[in-house]
Subunit: 155 residues, 4 copies
Amino acid sequence: MKKIVVDLLKERGVTVHDIALLVYELQKNYVNLSMDDAIENVEKVLLKREVQNALITGIQLDKLAEKDLLDEPLLSMIKNDESLYGIDEILALSIINIYGSIGFTNYGYLDKIKLGIIGEVDKLGKAKGVVNTFLDDIICGIAAAACARIAHSNE
Amino acid sequence: MKKIVVDLLKERGVTVHDIALLVYELQKNYVNLSMDDAIENVEKVLLKREVQNALITGIQLDKLAEKDLLDEPLLSMIKNDESLYGIDEILALSIINIYGSIGFTNYGYLDKIKLGIIGEVDKLGKAKGVVNTFLDDIICGIAAAACARIAHSNE
Amino acid sequence: MKKIVVDLLKERGVTVHDIALLVYELQKNYVNLSMDDAIENVEKVLLKREVQNALITGIQLDKLAEKDLLDEPLLSMIKNDESLYGIDEILALSIINIYGSIGFTNYGYLDKIKLGIIGEVDKLGKAKGVVNTFLDDIICGIAAAACARIAHSNE
Amino acid sequence: MKKIVVDLLKERGVTVHDIALLVYELQKNYVNLSMDDAIENVEKVLLKREVQNALITGIQLDKLAEKDLLDEPLLSMIKNDESLYGIDEILALSIINIYGSIGFTNYGYLDKIKLGIIGEVDKLGKAKGVVNTFLDDIICGIAAAACARIAHSNE
């Protein structure tokens, strides 16, 4: 299953390395962390079933929206990444919850400043024919979860 | 939008009256409640945007699974209502959260004993060609949210 | 820290065995589970930091309410286990979340039917001088989390 | 009850105006918002029971920690605002949830950059004898909830 998830991310233009870079940027001022540590923690997060399920469900909805295979008004909401839709955040939050409440701050911060790959994915999602409504929030969720994982294991 | 949501429920074999019956059963021993009150509270819950978005997203996934329009392994997980999938509960919980934490007890109880329409929907979902993986949890969520709404407005 | 948590439960009249009995009752029809397995899973849940923190915070508030050391109106709300207070459920939900969304059904069911030790704790909490407002919800949360843990590890 | 909550905030050095300023800063680039609108929305958030209960519970714990009236190890965790404690975030998230998932981004962003009153409260909480472990997260939660409220009512 982890391979499916990593392949799906790659298909959407996102590597484990991209997400690990976010983790590294967020953590470098607080803990002694190598990029290898960051990668390892992202991979551990991707082994969690609820993370995998949120990811494959969200990306599925993005892909179906790209192909116009959703009914209205859901289709337009997802295609336009409507700020009041909210289900993309709900899936991201379910990823973070697995590592407790301490991941929420990094989630919100990442989602706001659109660091690294998140900004790229968000920008791509505004191009004709591409829908990344769930993808950007899910990446934020995975990166925030990896940071929480690091904080928990550092004690 | 509320009409879209009510029509979608009807298309899946569920009426506002069915959900109000759950609310009535859950509340009748605690508060003085008529079926009209129960119906009104369910309708108020269905006016909330985040409830509507969870509902149309969940039912969309059920319908796409029925038509084999999802990719594997998501397709099989939703078709078989796999107990470890979890995203159906996530959407239901997002409905309850809007009315605070007091709705969670009724949600779990309803989901466990499969009262009224929930049992019917669940049973139907086991028939060939029908997928109600999200629908039953969403109904539990709406009924529990309506109970929480009643509790809040009774003070 | 786990010893602190187990001792605190014992001080409030609850043993790991009591909670494991709930887990056993909930799971016996679904999986092949011994009481030893149930106990082991409850103990694993009690090792999680966010579970420990929710537990020591909730029981602390119960104990402070017993000694009238909280300010009004919080004191009366906790002393009377007011149904609209909600923060007791919030702490219990934070315990369940660690094991994903599949624990919520058992949480609500347990809280509703007041099985075993939960009924005892709830009844005790109605006695003069005793406050168990947080304790019963926290026990439900730990038992539901242990059930979710079993479900996840059985795959 | 709203008066109790506003007085309690004031007692801890925080005014509705301080929180409204955060809302204004977060929203000014997105919607046409006056400070009066921001104040009104913060006040509406403070009318919600679950917000009030989270706030009085959190501030109570801060005050008890200041007076050394909590048991160890809870006392040290709250006094030192330990990053892995997590219950302060749990209470803040329960505030945001009332307005759906769209508030989480602003919550995390505020908590990270420590804008305005949050930075002040955080700094004060590091002074001898002062504990603001819950207070800063609760303010972030109220401000983020008010932003979500504005977004919902603008449609």
